[in-house]
């Protein structure tokens, strides 16, 4: 019994020192990380809003993958919405922000957070990756399957189809959500 206590005590001491060290590093890095995230969100919103006025963030209370939305207005009239939606990626959630017009057209998309594979799914973080979705919707199909793409775009997602399908499905859901909201 004494032996077990001694071994357990030594292991607990190592854990306690590790926890203190981590606490100190966290106290130093946390404010920097939070400020960087806030700045990233501010930049993404200003890019997505394309000059329109960004309204207050409205959280959705249902349990869907849509976290919430920002109305985009010019003057009194709501022209579009920025939807914050979670898609299913290859290695976890894809946190997306997308601007969708009242008519259901995808105006722009930014991938905010993901844990996809570097060099494959992570390519979706590049602005050029999202070009295949922009301008779709509002009568045309928002691509969510390789068969919806031309040969060059289909080639570019080789090895990362699940990421592409995850984004496509999320955008379709976001467009459906905007059509429910209507031009409030």
């Amino acid at each position: 019994m004494k032996e077990v206590m001694k071994i357990g005590g030594k292991l607990a001491a190592i854990c306690a020192i590790a926890a203190i060290a981590l606490g100190v590093v966290n106290a130093i890095t946390e404010p920097i990380i939070l400020a960087a995230r806030a700045e990233k969100l501010r930049l993404a919103l200003s890019e997505l809003s394309a000059g329109l006025e960004i309204g207050e963030f409205i959280k959705t209370d249902n349990e869907s993958s849509i976290i919430g939305y920002y109305p985009l207005s010019s003057g009194e009239k709501t022209e579009a919405y920025i939807i914050n939606i979670i898609g299913d990626g290859y290695a976890g959630d894809l946190n997306l922000l997308t601007a969708i017009s009242n008519g259901g057209e995808v105006l722009s998309v930014v991938l905010m957070e993901d844990t996809e594979t570097p060099g494959l799914g992570k390519e979706a973080e590049n602005a050029s990756y999202m070009e295949k979705f922009i301008g779709t919707g509002n009568g045309s199909i928002i691509p969510s399957s390789k068969s919806h793409l031309n040969a060059k775009d289909a080639d570019s997602i080789t090895g990362a189809s699940i990421t592409f399908i995850g984004i496509g499905k999320a955008l379709n859901e976001a467009a459906g959500f905007v059509s429910q909201l209507g031009g409030m």
Binding site: I7, I14, E30, I32, A91, P118, G159
Partner: protein, 207 residues
């Protein structure tokens, strides 16, 4: 003493000769910059864990040595993760899930178990630096082949007006995409392992 450092580079290269840490080696080696970032992270964690395991080798009870090593390694990895997210956010984003996975990189636990818990702090530091640099070297070589052929580029750190991307004429327009995929990673790894084994054989015959 110097051989503790040099052995990790070629003779006992952790990736090509000991064949450890293959998951991250194949996972992040799509671009040279990712390999350099991963290598730097592994060197830091390996150095920290080797130093502490060596310092505490008489304090850590034999029966719970593996949990103790894992606590030490996981702490250093978490520190790397927090520091990288705060000060190198672009690299942190591009390495993704592979940063927390350094915890289960067998090179680090392997060196703690096979070297640091039997040797002095000084020898453990040299071993960590050699093995860490050997791992980085292996990753950069794999990434160089995969990125040049698979994407037609070489991505390094951006500096001033240089955006960090060197484009290879000819390959940039029609890259051999398989090199960027998992199959290409295994292919390149296999060929490089054969090359390293061949170099090692020649060296042994000469001796």
């Amino acid at each position: 003493m110097l051989k503790e450092f040099t052995k990790g580079l070629i003779k006992e290269n952790p990736v090509f000769i000991i064949v450890l840490g293959l998951c991250p080696a194949l996972g992040v080696s799509t671009k040279v910059i990712n390999s350099l970032g991963m290598g730097a992270g592994v060197i830091f964690v390996l150095l920290g864990s080797n130093i502490f395991v060596s310092l505490l080798k008489n304090f850590i009870p034999e029966k719970v040595r593996i949990p103790a090593y894992i606590v030490i390694i996981a702490s250093f990895v978490t520190i790397v993760e927090m520091v990288m997210e705060a000060f190198l956010p672009a690299l942190y984003d591009s390495l993704g899930v592979f940063v927390p996975l350094i915890v289960v990189n067998c090179i680090i636990l392997g060196r703690a178990e096979a070297f640091a818990n039997k040797n002095t702090v000084k020898a453990s530091i040299l071993d960590a630096l050699g093995m860490g640099l050997g791992f980085t070297l292996a990753l950069v070589i794999i990434a160089l082949v995969r990125e040049v052929f698979g994407l037609g580029t070489i991505t390094l750190f951006p500096m001033g007006s240089f955006n960090g991307v060197i484009e290879i004429p000819g390959l940039i327009d029609s890259p051999v995409r398989v090199f960027g995929l998992a199959a290409g990673a295994l292919l390149v790894m296999g060929l490089l392992k054969a090359l390293f084994t061949w170099i090692e054989d020649i060296r042994r015959v000469k001796q």
